[in-house]
Symmetry: C2
Subunit: 471 residues, 2 copies
Amino acid sequence: MNNIILCGGSGTRLWPLSRTMLPKQFVKIFGEKSLFQMTEERNRRLCSSSLIVCNAEQFFLASDQLEESSKAVFLLEPIGRNTAPAIALACMLLEPEEIVLVTASDHLIKKQSAYEEAVKTAENLARQDYLVTFGITPDYPETGYGYIEADGADVLRFKEKPAMEKAERYMHANAKLAAKNLPAKYLWNSGMFCFKAGVFLDELKKYSPAIFETSAAALNNKVTVQERQYRIKHEDMLAIPADSIDYAVMEKSDRVKVVPCDIGWSDLGSFDSLYAETEAGENGNSVIAYSEGSPELVCVDSTDNLVISSERQIALVDIEGLLVVDTSDALLISKKGSSQKVKAVTEAIKKLKPELTETHRFVHRPWGTYEVLLESSRYKIKRIVVKTGRKLSLQKHFHRSEHWVVVSGTATVTVGDKRFYVHPNESTYIPAGQVHRLENEGKVDLAMIEVQVGEYVGEDDIVRIDDIYGR
Amino acid sequence: MNNIILCGGSGTRLWPLSRTMLPKQFVKIFGEKSLFQMTEERNRRLCSSSLIVCNAEQFFLASDQLEESSKAVFLLEPIGRNTAPAIALACMLLEPEEIVLVTASDHLIKKQSAYEEAVKTAENLARQDYLVTFGITPDYPETGYGYIEADGADVLRFKEKPAMEKAERYMHANAKLAAKNLPAKYLWNSGMFCFKAGVFLDELKKYSPAIFETSAAALNNKVTVQERQYRIKHEDMLAIPADSIDYAVMEKSDRVKVVPCDIGWSDLGSFDSLYAETEAGENGNSVIAYSEGSPELVCVDSTDNLVISSERQIALVDIEGLLVVDTSDALLISKKGSSQKVKAVTEAIKKLKPELTETHRFVHRPWGTYEVLLESSRYKIKRIVVKTGRKLSLQKHFHRSEHWVVVSGTATVTVGDKRFYVHPNESTYIPAGQVHRLENEGKVDLAMIEVQVGEYVGEDDIVRIDDIYGR
């Protein structure tokens, strides 16, 4: 089996934890591993290969989170066109008889063995040329998910996100059946699928021929960036109609089957659903400390809160039922149960300070990471980490000079015609206008502090003369 | 008249805005001026001189907030012994016939002309050898203040902080009198006083002779640090019994009078009282942005909150009646009306991370300020500002080297035998073990970035060879 991992996501629902440039699948919410890494690992046990469909800008984020030995294939989209085109493009890279397991990259699945069992059931159905979807037995009347009305493995119909009353009716119907030891009739549509690549493409061609044709043309015209890495061209992607796999194929095809399952699934689509998956500590307060050395939460007469903290000390006094999400440049405080409204927050902030919806102060780059420590109109301080073997572009700046102090690792620095090493506790200076390059030829990460000084210190004052990442 | 300004304060009630090393009188809560500056300015119109009693560690904080032309006299206490000794020591610096106006440094007084009138009334009574206290006409049944039971200018008795029921009875009694156009009987004890220095000392000698004797000895043994700056020795201060002026003198003396007044007074003793003094914006949300360029608060369906913000973007969703206090290293979220419990928070944090109750990341020093931008086990980044004409100690470090990049102003740097200038966009390097000094001989502030690198970067790795501030 081939695992297609869909890595889209706009990074708005878990803002400020997630941002456009760091959607939630790449955030290490549950400790050492990101949801993307957990997904890849979970499916590695079931699939012999994986095909990752992600935004071109996030390729390095995703590939840096994979093990070095990974043979995953990347399909890079310049823009997102929803799930139907993403899955179609991926299937077109495969042989028609190959079976694919399509999964999101940002869902949580807690019951691994039930999951594996469900996938095996789905795989069997897929071999019989069915398009298989996974239906999650609901725990509660969620109104944020679509439902599948099922009769065993047969799909009677797909149901839109219901109002609360209807969702409760579904739960009631399920409960009645459960009392008779019968399987649930109303299932959550999980967005996971299993089918033969060719069968899916045939059905897509039949029911949404425009998506099929434009996707085929786009794939045909793809750019091979390097081994196992393909990029769709922007204009080709634009030509593909955006649609979800549910609308484009599943709701229309008569080859659809469902595997009802209870696999401890959550789409973590809001802080409330994240809260539901977090173990409560003392007095019902949950803490997710996503940076090392987060100080202990101080609670005075406070209960039933979810606090996501970074370096800052947080103290609560007489607080009940709040979600507190603290990052280095933005703080969200929401009542529990209201986290769907976070969307209104990101919309407001897009107008006020759009950069806060796009990046963190800690930024991933193809060559490593940087963090802005201080920014003023005439200088900027960054901590820069260059991974072993990586190099920044050969570049120059019109308006700023740069002072570099190496704190660990060894920098190979090019300035004009000269090329030299800078060791820990040594520094160098790059005058404005001078062509320069920073490399890490060493075996350990290079960490350095950069002090930029100049009349303008914006990120866009950069002229790239050469770049191994094609920027 | 001589204004004695009491500058004690432990910096715990408005934590994390205030800290031990930056009590609330020095925080610029209401914009450009601190409460200390507002106090000094307010009384400069009434008094010909001022005498500031403050902790020795905070001398530079206070003197930096005064105008350069200020002729204020400083009396520095190594430790606090409450108000009676502080006022006694100050009075002993003056002639017995001099009239003093004793004020806190961290109270808010909004009605300046009513205040001036009240002070003039008090001054007249003080000339007649009375000890005069100021009684504030209460607006509401506050349980956090002591009360004065008055009959016109006569004090019938001092009342401890009342329970709510009793506080309400006081209000009721006042209302009845007000209906008959009679003055209030129960007044808040404001902690402001007016009397002849000699009269106060006579009464202190009579009712609390131990305080009088030990204070006289301590003052006699004082150190003259420089012109208009006296320091009490630690052992002398320790010998003085700690007591408030109310217990030590006012509640015992029969020379006490009260000036009832309505001067828009608040002691700002909690975030709730701060909230009461803050103008509410849209939907009852108040914002105090205490650092420049604070982003606009984003509110979704949120009402009646007080947000004290610094650089971080803050967003509220479905939040009502909260106090949110955000600083660069600590965040407090409290229900409105519960801010008295902040004390429990600071007690907990004293055990967990005591440095957070002592200093901010932004630290005041005799020579200027510094801010820690990043700290790890092997390096530390600081932004350092040296005020014009100031210099750091001649010093060395065993474990760390320092890289200095000047971003504005000019540094005069001594390293070993050499002395040289470092201009903006220039850098220099101080190897570990090397004796060095940083000075600003220029006419504008010097700002520079320091990158410390070494096996240990704690503040205590410093050997001072010479220091103009006697450290």
